[in-house]
């Protein structure tokens, strides 16, 4: 048996043991599905939800909120990070503002998200944006600050004679690994904000929305199902992104990416 199969088998074994312990505790120690639903309760709830057919709609709506927030964070965070990382004046100008806004927890923006956007998809997107923006901004900024001086000078002697050319052909490609890991962190934070963003009823569907909705209905097995789906979906999004980035960057960067 090689290491890889050994690792996999042990992992599966541990999951099975955990499920068995969970089942025993839920059924014989706690004994109330409302306090701690058992594995079979959750499996049954999952089967029912599959049958009801709203799961796909929930995932689609959540991905829409998530996508709006991340795209906005990307299209604002990267350019502002580039400006601050490349031009000293932009850094001096914007840094105090950024430093004041950055420590505000993303969820603290929820009241204004509702006031500015109403109970809309954009409001949920805005909360996710508030969580994802700063990781992308700071990663882009430090990626640009860390571009080796010799690359910039090589670019200059080889004929890049404007800041635009130096950014486009030298600094940006050099900073891509840093930006990619910033996006990865931003996706993690954004996904965490999702549950809260959907809590106040911006839509009739959504994984976060359903989680709260089932809580109000005291359907705790359903709540566990949505928790698990949120976890898995987050994991899959991270994996897809990581594989994509590694596939793109590994060709020139042996090893340490994102």
């Amino acid at each position: 048996m090689n290491r890889q199969t050994q690792k996999r088998l042990l992992g599966i074994a541990a999951l099975v043991v955990a499920a068995v312990i969970w089942q025993i505790v839920a059924e014989y120690v706690v004994g109330r599905s409302f306090i701690l639903p058992s594995v079979t309760d959750v499996a049954g709830a999952f089967a029912n939800l599959l049958g009801s057919g709203t799961l796909l709609a929930d995932i689609a709506v959540s991905l829409e909120h998530f996508g709006i927030g991340l795209l906005a964070a990307f299209f604002l965070g990267v350019p502002i990070g580039i400006l601050m990382g490349w031009f000293r004046v932009a850094d001096f100008l914007l840094d105090p503002i950024i430093e004041i806004l950055r420590p505000i927890p993303p969820l603290a923006w929820i009241p204004f998200a509702i006031i500015w956007f109403g109970l809309t998809t954009q409001a949920a997107g805005f909360v996710i944006f508030a969580g994802a923006f700063f990781p992308i901004l700071t990663a882009t900024y430090s990626g640009f600050r860390d571009v080796p001086k010799v690359f910039v000078e090589a670019g200059k002697v080889l004929g890049c004679d404007t800041s635009f050319e130096l950014i486009r052909y030298v600094a940006l490609p050099a900073a891509i690994p840093a930006i990619a890991s910033g996006i990865r962190i931003a996706m993690g934070v954004g996904w965490m904000c999702l549950v809260a963003a959907e809590m106040f009823g911006v839509s009739r569907y959504g994984l976060g929305y359903e989680l709260w909705h089932n809580y109000y209905l005291h359907q705790m097995p359903n709540v566990v199902v949505y928790m698990l789906i949120l976890g898995f979906a987050g994991l899959i999004i991270d994996r897809i992104f990581r594989n994509y980035v590694d596939g793109q960057l590994l060709r020139w960067r042996a090893g340490e990416v994102a």
Binding site: V150, E153, K156, V157, L158, Y169, P173, A174, W252
Partner: protein, 253 residues
């Protein structure tokens, strides 16, 4: 004709406390077309600063540099530079590193690849055209860096201790290859080195700098044909003379 003329050149760097450090003062030098000149001197004598000023990467405080009769005001592809550190862009394949300067000039893809292939061939790395820099050894990277500088067809090739990070054997081989490139391309080369041996092996003239402020202590002409024999008595004699000169300038501080 692509000579370099340096006239009354001085360079002062501002320090934290408001005073300045005089790195170079009163440097006058004429470098002829197709000449191979090495700059040597003790650490901190400003030889790299002088090279960077010729490249346009540093400004002068007094005096100036003209190349081919035109004043140097900033970096220009007409003055190619090879750095001591590995400066290849790691995200570009070897061929696209060599073609970078042509891409900046707006040369079409087909044509710039053809030119880049020619220079890769010249440095003997055609079979690595599609490799990424991390796949190359240190010596190969510097050969690609030389090809990249040459692909712009510069008037002058500036080299800042390009072989400083290489092991002794690779270094000797690179020196031989550089001389053959120089004979084929007929470029003017200004070469900064710590190694007196390297300078005696390569140069038409060795410019010895004295430190703080850096100025020209002496210029030694080496009339021998190439390839030169490192083990000959006359080679050793010139090497000893230059070393003694550097020692003296260091001790009289």
């Amino acid at each position: 004709m692509s000579g370099v003329t340096i006239r009354d050149l001085g360079k002062a760097f501002p320090k934290e406390d408001g005073t300045t450090t005089q790195a170079l003062a009163g440097v006058n030098l004429e470098i002829g077309d197709e000449e191979f000149v090495c700059l040597v001197g003790p650490s901190g004598c400003g030889k790299t600063t002088l090279l960077r000023i010729i490249a346009g990467l540093e400004t002068t405080t007094t005096g100036g540099v003209t190349v081919d009769g035109r004043a140097v005001t900033g970096p220009d592809p007409k003055r190619g530079m090879v750095f001591q550190e590995y400066s290849l862009f790691p995200w570009r394949r070897v061929i696209d590193n060599v073609a970078f300067g042509l891409e900046m000039k707006g040369v079409a893809k087909e044509e710039r690849r053809r030119t880049a292939d020619y220079y890769l061939e010249l440095v003997g790395l055609s079979q690595f055209r599609d490799a990424y820099p991390f796949e190359l050894s240190g010596g190969m990277r510097q050969r690609v860096a030389i090809a990249r500088a040459l692909a712009n067809d510069p008037d002058v090739l500036l080299m800042d201790e390009p072989f400083g990070a290489l092991d002794a054997q690779t270094r000797n081989r690179m020196q031989k290859e550089l001389l053959s490139l120089w004979e084929q391309t007929k470029k003017t080369i200004v070469f900064v080195t710590h190694s007196v041996d390297e300078a005696v092996y390569l140069s038409d003239r060795i410019v010895v700098l004295s430190p703080r402020p850096g100025s020209i202590r002496e210029i030694i002409t080496i009339p021998w044909s190439r390839p030169r024999d490192r083990t000959s008595a006359e080679f050793a004699e010139v090497r000893r003379r230059v070393l003694r000169m550097i020692d003296e300038t260091e001790n009289t501080q």
